[in-house]
Every structure is written in structure tokens, then in C-alpha cells.
């Protein structure tokens, strides 16, 4: 591997890692604040991609379609929290697992009913369609760099919201002590609704931005879900910072293992996770 190719691979790894972070951030946020293990998180990613495809067909505008998809996802999240999740806060964690598995079934069926089962694709918008030459053979598409930057921006945004705003303060307080927050006269239910809605929207947003790069197919959510869990667990459940570090780590390890250790490439992220959990049973940055 010469140096130029090494750099391209590093870029591949970073870009994949950043996208993973975007998907995983919502999951870790919801778990951290609400203690809910949302197995249907991957389905939200899938819904985002399908909504994007649908609205691009309808409006022919990338930005408009992205905005519409994000808003619908947010509403969906709010509705789910209000009708289903909020009845389970005082119940066993396993009931939440069962509920979200039921939701996976429903979302998969809805996808098949609404949009069919053929693989779908979204074209890269014109203004982002160029590419940059890296070596004599390899080019890097502007869109993928745009997505990477967008993920970075969102990561920074999340960091600021959580550490610098009143909402973020409540989120942090809710993580450590639910009763305390309630005693302070804060409507914890509203906080939970907002956080869950935001979590769903983040997953859907990841689906939206990956739509032009990925293939939109049934079952795309479940595959992502596992990678997502790996990231969240390595980082420490509930830690946004952990998820960020872990996502980059998984992205880079996965990318290089694919080329350097092909025999192990299917297992490498699981090996990584197992090793980290053996050394640090609570993940890298658990609170």
C-alpha cells in the first residue's frame, strides 16, 4: 500500500465512521437520557432513506426532500413516544425490547406496502455531483466529502446543544437523575418526547444523506442496527463523545481490515468490541 492509497483508505474509513456516528448518535442519546433500548432505530434509518426517495420523486429538489423527510421523521418520533413508549417507562427493559421488535415488523411491512421491494436509488444533486482527483485512478466524489462535513457539523452541533444550552442541561440532568429533574418542577415527559423525536430524526437524517450513496432496499435497517449497536457499546452507552470516537474507530478498523486482514474482516468489528468490553466492561466513555 503506497502512501497515496493509504490516505485514500483513511479517508474512506473516516467517511464511513462519520456516517456511523450520525446513525448511532440518536440511539445513544435516547438510551442515555431515557434508558430505552430502541431496536427499531435501524428502521428509522430505513424510513429516512425511503422518504427521501419518495420526496425526491415528488419535488425534484434535494434540499426540500431532505427537509420534508426530517420533519416527518420528527413527527413520527413524537407520535411513537406519545402513544407507545411513554406507557412503558415504569416497566421492565425487556418490555421495551419486545415493543421495539414489534415496531420493526410493522415498519418493514409498511415499507413493503408503501414503496415496494425493488431496490431504489436517488441521484446525487447536481450542485454536489463533481469529484476530486486523488491519484491517477482514484477520484473522490464531492458528495461524500459533503456528507462527511455534514456529519462533523452535526456532531459539533450536538456537543454544543448538550453542553451549552438549557435543554442540554436538562438532558444531562435527566441522564443522571430522573426524580431530581422532576422535583425541580421540570416536565420530564416533554423532555423525553423531544429527545425521542430528535433521536428518530437523527436516524432518519442519516438515511436521508446516505440515500444517494447507498441502495435503498428492504432490510437495510437491520444491517445498520447491528453496526450501530457496536459503536454505541464501544463508546459507552449514552455517551455522545464515546459514540463519536467509537464510530471513527470502527470505520477505520473496518476499512483497513477489509484490505489487510480479509480472512477476519467479517468478524473484526465484533472482535474489537469484545476486546474493548473485556478491558473496559462499560465501554470507553461510560458515564
Amino acid at each position: 500500500m503506497d502512501f497515496a492509497i493509504f490516505l485514500v483508505q483513511l479517508l474512506n474509513g473516516l467517511q464511513y465512521g462519520l456516517l456511523l456516528f450520525l446513525i448511532a448518535s440518536g440511539l445513544t442519546l435516547v438510551f442515555g437520557v431515557m434508558g430505552i433500548l430502541n431496536l427499531a432505530h435501524g428502521s428509522m434509518y430505513m424510513i429516512g432513506a425511503y422518504l427521501m426517495w419518495y420526496f425526491v420523486q415528488l419535488t425534484d429538489s434535494f434540499v426540500l426532500a431532505a427537509l420534508l423527510s426530517a420533519v416527518i421523521a420528527l413527527l413520527l418520533g413524537v407520535v411513537i413516544e406519545k402513544t407507545l413508549i411513554n406507557r412503558l417507562y415504569r416497566r421492565n427493559h425487556l418490555d421495551q425490547v419486545l415493543l421495539t421488535i414489534g415496531m420493526i415488523f410493522v415498519f418493514n411491512a409498511m415499507q413493503s406496502l408503501l414503496w415496494g421491494d425493488d431496490p431504489l436509488g436517488v441521484a446525487v444533486p447536481g450542485w454536489l455531483s463533481g469529484s476530486i482527483s486523488l491519484t491517477e485512478l482514484v477520484e473522490y466524489p464531492v458528495y461524500r466529502i459533503f456528507v462527511a462535513l455534514l456529519c462533523l457539523l452535526l456532531a459539533a452541533g450536538l456537543y454544543l446543544v448538550i453542553n451549552r444550552t438549557r435543554l442540554g442541561m436538562l438532558v444531562r440532568a435527566g441522564e443522571s437523575n430522573r426524580e431530581m429533574v422532576e422535583c425541580l418542577g421540570i416536565d420530564i415527559n416533554r423532555l423525553y418526547t423531544i429527545v425521542f423525536g430528535a433521536g428518530v430524526m437523527l436516524a432518519a437524517l442519516a438515511g436521508v444523506v446516505s440515500a444517494p450513496m447507498a441502495s435503498i432496499v428492504p432490510g437495510m435497517g437491520e444491517h445498520v442496527l447491528i453496526s450501530c449497536f457496536v459503536v454505541v457499546v464501544i463508546g459507552g452507552m449514552g455517551s455522545i463523545k464515546g459514540a463519536f470516537v467509537a464510530a471513527l474507530m470502527v470505520g477505520i478498523v473496518d476499512t483497513f481490515a477489509a484490505v489487510l486482514l480479509p480472512q477476519l474482516s467479517s468478524m473484526i468489528v465484533y472482535i474489537l468490541m469484545a476486546v474493548i468490553l473485556i478491558i473496559k466492561p462499560q465501554g470507553l466513555f461510560s458515564s
Binding site: 438510551f31 433500548l37 407507545l84 406507557r87 412503558l88 416497566r91 421492565n92 427493559h93 425487556l94 418490555d95 425490547v97 419486545l98 415493543l99 421488535i101 414489534g102 415496531m103 420493526i104 415488523f105 410493522v106 415498519f107 418493514n108 411491512a109 409498511m110 413493503s112 406496502l113 447491528i226 449497536f229 457496536v230 457499546v233 452507552m237 467479517s266 468478524m267 465484533y270 472482535i271 468490541m273 469484545a274 468490553l277 473485556i278 466492561p281 462499560q282 465501554g283
Partner: protein, 322 residues
């Protein structure tokens, strides 16, 4: 009996289920399918019950239990000669012991964690195992492998049943299920079981009382894994076919669903959950192509309505006035 199966609902269920399961093949149309279907439900219930013990009675949530289910089948292929009928009982013993040995090693790693982290590390290890068999040419990869020679079931020169006869095999599996239920009841009713319960409720206090919490957990994990492998071994023998999809996380997931649905930790609820889930799956998929939608909605409805699974709901209904 009355003393042994404590709750009224539990007694009622056992008195209803087992006689019914015994008689059912006589009423069904005489063809291979119904018996085979019942057999696979019974086998899966053995698997679900081992998970139910682990999750419901020990508080160890795993999403990697399917690894042992799959290993039950693959271990047989690994150790039995390909073209020779081996002894069923001997190999049952080998497989349970081997699975227990593997569980001992895995358990030492896995039990360092707890809660969500334990879910994930068990998942990680199961996925590694899944990919190992999916990628390997010797084990048939994704397409799976056939078991060419079914084992011979004679014991001390007496053949009790014939593995190739679906009805024989069904009754044998049903007996196994009953034995498993009795076994788990014995475990949970014993001193070991009571300490395990204390470990589940409050590990710190139990440690302070001088018990080695880790050992109790490890032993439970090993027992549950060995029985999961036993179920997988039966499944592999039923059709003589193993496939890595037995080890997929979806298999663990559906077992967990059945167990929660039945009523976590109630043991007999595992049978209830498996039967209801499989029954719904079977009838919905013959009803409509969009069975996933109905199935999903029903699962959601049941979570909302039943606070402790179907078993809990029935107990409430039957024992409310007490």
C-alpha cells in the same frame, strides 16, 4: 406434583398442555407435516426455556444464545463420522459436555459485563461464530450442510424409538421438554436457585453474605447453554440439515420475543410464548402476505396489555380473587 408446580395457573397449564400435546397427533390428519411442525415447536420451546431461565431467573440478558443452538447442530457434524450411524445417547452426552465447555470459556469473558453490555458482548461472540460458519467452505458456508447418517438410538441393546419416524421423534422431544421443565423447576426450587434469585435481585448484598456471585452466574450460564445446544442438536436431527442461520441474531431475537411474550422467568411461560408465537406466525402467514404487519401490531398490543406476559395475564385472571 401440586407442591412442585406452585401456582394454580401453572398447574392448570401443565395439566392441560402435556396431555393435549400427547393426544394431539391422534386427532390430526395423519401426515408428516403436522407432527413435524409440532416437533419443531416443542424443540424451540426447549431452547426458549433455557433462555427464559437465564434472562428471567438470573437477570442475564443475552442476544447470543442462538450460538449454542447452532453449535448443537454443528458440533454433531464436527465430531460424528460422516458415513456411520453413531449412538444417539453417547453423542447427546458429548454435545452437551462440549457445549458446556465452550459456555464455560465464553461465560468467563461474558460475565465480566452486565446489563446492556452483556447483551452486546454475547451478540458479538455469537456473530463471530455465525460468520465463522458462514465463511467456512468445510462447513458448507451459507448453504449449510446435510447430516447424512442419523444416529442410532439403542441403549444397552434396546432401541426405544426410531429417529426416522416423525411420531416417535415428536414424543421423544415432548418428553425432553417435560424433563427440561422439571429440571429447571428443580434448579430454581433448590438452594442454588434461591441464592441465584438473590444474586439477581441484589448482587452486592449476596456478595456481602459471602457467596461467589460470579460462580453462580457462570454455572447458570453453562447449564442454559448446554440445554440450548441440546435443542439445536434435536433440530438438526429432525430434518438432518444445519445452516448458519440457526446462529443468527434473529434466532436469538425471536426466542427472546417468545420468552418475554410468555412471561419472563415463569419457565412454563416459555412454552406458552413459543406456542402462541408460532401459532400466530403460522396462521397469519396463511391468512395474508402482509402477515408481518399483523404480527407486529399484535406484538405491540400484547406488550401494552400484558404487564408480565401471557403467563402473568392468565395468573391475574385466574388468581385475582385470592
Amino acid at each position: 406434583m401440586t407442591y412442585f408446580f406452585g401456582k394454580k395457573t401453572e398447574q392448570l397449564f401443565i395439566w392441560l398442555f402435556f396431555p393435549l400435546a400427547l393426544l394431539l397427533p391422534l386427532f390430526l390428519e395423519q401426515n408428516e407435516f403436522y407432527v413435524n411442525k409440532l416437533t419443531s415447536v416443542v424443540i424451540f420451546a426447549i431452547f426458549v426455556m433455557s433462555l427464559d431461565y437465564l434472562v428471567g431467573r438470573c437477570g442475564m440478558i443475552t442476544l447470543g444464545h442462538s450460538m449454542f443452538y447452532g453449535l448443537g447442530g454443528y458440533l454433531f457434524i464436527l465430531i460424528a463420522p460422516e458415513f456411520e450411524a453413531v449412538n444417539f445417547w453417547v453423542y447427546t452426552f458429548y454435545i452437551c459436555v462440549l457445549a458446556a465447555a465452550i459456555a464455560l470459556v465464553v461465560g468467563v469473558i461474558v460475565l465480566r459485563t452486565s446489563g446492556v453490555y452483556m447483551i452486546m458482548i454475547t451478540l458479538a461472540i455469537a456473530q463471530m461464530c455465525f460468520y465463522f460458519f458462514s465463511d467456512s467452505v468445510e462447513f458448507g458456508g451459507n448453504d449449510g450442510l446435510f447430516i447424512l447418517m442419523k444416529p442410532d438410538t439403542s441403549l444397552f441393546g434396546l432401541a426405544f424409538f426410531n429417529l426416522d419416524d416423525p411420531l416417535h421423534f415428536y414424543y421423544f422431544c415432548l418428553l425432553s421438554l417435560f424433563n427440561c421443565l422439571v429440571f429447571w423447576k428443580l434448579v430454581t426450587g433448590s438452594r442454588f436457585g434461591r441464592i441465584m434469585e438473590a444474586v439477581k435481585d441484589n448482587p452486592q448484598r449476596t456478595t456481602a453474605l459471602g457467596y461467589n456471585v460470579f460462580l453462580f452466574r457462570l454455572l447458570s450460564y453453562v447449564m442454559a447453554s448446554a440445554l440450548a445446544a441440546y435443542a439445536g442438536y434435536l433440530f438438526a436431527l429432525q430434518y438432518g440439515f444445519v445452516n448458519p442461520s440457526m446462529m443468527s441474531w434473529q434466532t436469538s431475537g425471536s426466542a427472546l420475543v417468545m420468552s418475554i411474550l410468555g412471561g419472563m422467568g415463569s419457565l412454563y411461560g416459555a412454552i406458552l410464548g413459543t406456542v402462541v408465537y408460532e401459532g400466530l406466525h403460522y396462521s397469519l402467514e396463511h391468512l395474508t402476505e402482509h402477515w408481518l404487519l399483523l404480527m407486529g401490531c399484535l406484538i405491540i398490543a400484547m406488550v401494552m396489555l400484558f404487564k408480565a406476559g401471557i403467563a402473568g395475564f392468565l395468573e391475574n385472571l385466574l388468581e385475582r380473587r385470592k
